[in-house]
Amino acid sequence: MSATRRAVRLAMAMARWEVLLLGAGALLLSAAALVIAWQIREVRTDELACYAATPPPVEGSTELTCPQFLDASDSLSTLQRGLGLPFLVAPVMLGLFLGLPVVARELEHRTAPIAWTLSRSRTRWLLIRAAPVVGMVAFLSAGLAIAAEIIWRASPWAEGLPDLGFAEYGAHGPLMVARGLAAVGVGLAAGAIVGRQLGGLLLGVLAAAALLIGTAMVMDAWMETDAEWVELATPADSRIFDMAYRNDATGQLISFNDFYDYDGGQIAVADDGEPEGMTAISLLVPAERAGAWIARESVLLVLLGVGASAVAGLSVRTRRVR
């Protein structure tokens, strides 16, 4: 048996319950997403066929066209939105729950001294133990990311878009895998530092939350430097930071919040509902640049995960065994 296969088998055997439960959870979540996506597409196809077959409503009528699809699309949309949070959290849970026990369980069970003595070096031991876990988290997170991509792409608002751009940012695509990998690093480090599974988990949850929220804030601030003012367009796939009116004569920007107090509230409104002499504009990063930003954040998260794993390695190397 090759060394790689042996390492994978050992990792699977040691974390079989975690892999079983988390794998089942990931599978259920993916299956739910696929079923909902399929149903959304079915209802949408029937709805579009109904619209095509129904004559346009008489002017002034409030009668709804094809009302029979309203309830079904509302319920499916609610279910779809309900999966947003699980897709955000799942890779982090995978990373933490699979990464944490690698060192913490050995320390808690006091088997680490024997394992470290038998291994050529502690770093080598950690690498052999952590590598299959990293692979498992990447594999499961990638599966979830694909399922998430499918469910968001089934949305009516995504019709005709080349990709999802900034829509449902972080809840699909490579960012999910990167978050999972960062969480593995955090789990390894928390487990190695605390030396107990439960205590490590509490620290790991806090550290992962701080890391991910911190990264999101830094990325947001960085992304805003790339944003530009464009005439009001609010596509679902761009990242909008602000919306305002621009005074066409002076070029002055008035935010939507300040608009109603501007000029003592004496602003004339044109027939189209827009204030006269002003243009509505948005500060946004267009969807075409989403790929580059997702790649940057993914690399940053993976690097943070590597950094956290290095902390775990340092802790393992310097820990005194009793």
């Binding site: 319950w17 975690e18 079983l20 009528s61 409030t62 709804l64 509490l202």
Partner: protein, 313 residues
């Protein structure tokens, strides 16, 4: 008893410290929010104009609506609603799973007079310490709800149901026992924690659904709902329409009627709400409380049975 409490503290000190920190933090935020809302209420009562925020909704809905403070109050209530489930899982799941995983049950069980006695000595002091820690959040929840809805009595208001008062503590005890039971089956801490979290989520969802089943909903005409603070603090279970002759309309008929532009007002059907009025709050709390105690006792029995029959290694 003192020895049992000390032992429970020593064995679970990190988890208990974490619970104490969270409980104290949420309670402090709740109390500060309630104090700020009381100040706003005093300002509203002294003000001449009460039609704008934060006083505008006071007369109609009985609520102080200052976006930042009221939002913080509702966020506190949400945290308080989740707290008993998280605390129960974090303390309960590893309680017995740890003994199996470390192999200490192998030593502890033969030394104890009986396994049930050992279980009670392990579980009850921990439950007591944690329940004491949860008293402050349970009371803070009452204060927050009372402060957000100064027009309503907290004892006759379904807002924040389950996130305050005795139900918060009783829900925690049930989840603690169930999580400990899961721990005896799984025998390993982290998987037990994962599985218990799923089970606790199920219990939470079940209790949310059960909230409207403890008492029979009452029928109220739509027009009546504009009086006496409207929907505030009541549980609306259904909304339907019927004609004066008592005939109920199906959903399709309602859609058809309200999409017509030429329908005379006197031909419109009457709107009817089915709701659990806020005055029934004590009955609902009592019934859920009794049910929680009964289920907890059953779970405790199952746990004792499981511990007695389990092999220690």
């Amino acid at each position: 008893m003192r020895r049992a409490l000390l032992l429970a503290w020593r064995l679970n000190r990190w988890e208990l410290v974490a619970l104490l920190v969270v409980a104290a933090g949420v309670s402090a935020v709740g109390v500060l929010t309630a104090v700020r809302l009381a100040e706003l209420l005093a300002e509203c009562r002294a003000a001449a104009v009460v039609v704008v925020e934060p006083c505008g909704a006071l007369a109609e809905m009985g609520i102080i609506s200052d976006p930042a403070t009221t939002g913080r109050g509702f966020a506190t209530i949400t945290l308080l609603a989740v707290l008993p489930f998280v605390a129960g899982v974090v303390l309960g799941a590893p309680l017995l799973a740890r003994e199996f995983e470390h192999g200490t049950a192998l030593l502890a069980w033969p030394l104890a007079r009986s396994r049930v006695r050992w279980l009670l000595f392990t579980l009850l002091p921990l439950a007591l310490l944690a329940a004491l820690a949860l008293l402050a959040p349970a009371m803070a929840g009452e204060l927050v709800v009372g402060a957000i809805y100064p027009g309503l009595e907290p004892g006759a208001n379904f807002e924040g149901y389950g996130a305050r008062g005795p139900l918060l503590v009783l829900r925690f005890v049930l989840v603690l026992v169930v999580a400990a039971l899961v721990g005896t089956w799984v025998r390993r801490q982290l998987p037990a924690l994962l599985l218990s979290a799923v089970v606790a989520g199920g219990i939470g969802l079940g209790l949310m659904q059960a909230e409207r089943l403890w008492v029979e909903p009452e029928e109220r005409a739509g027009m009546q709902m504009e009086l006496n603070y409207g929907f505030s603090g009541q549980i609306v279970t259904d909304q339907r329409y019927r004609y004066g002759d008592g005939e109920w309309l199906s959903e399709e008929e309602v859609d058809a009627v309200f999409s017509r532009v030429d329908i005379p007002l006197d031909e419109l059907p009457d709107e009817v709400f089915f709701l659990i009025p806020r005055e029934r709050y004590p009955d609902v709390v009592l019934r859920e409380g009794l049910a929680l105690v009964a289920v907890t006792v059953v779970m405790l029995g199952l746990l004792a049975l499981s511990v007695q029959r389990r092999r220690p290694a």
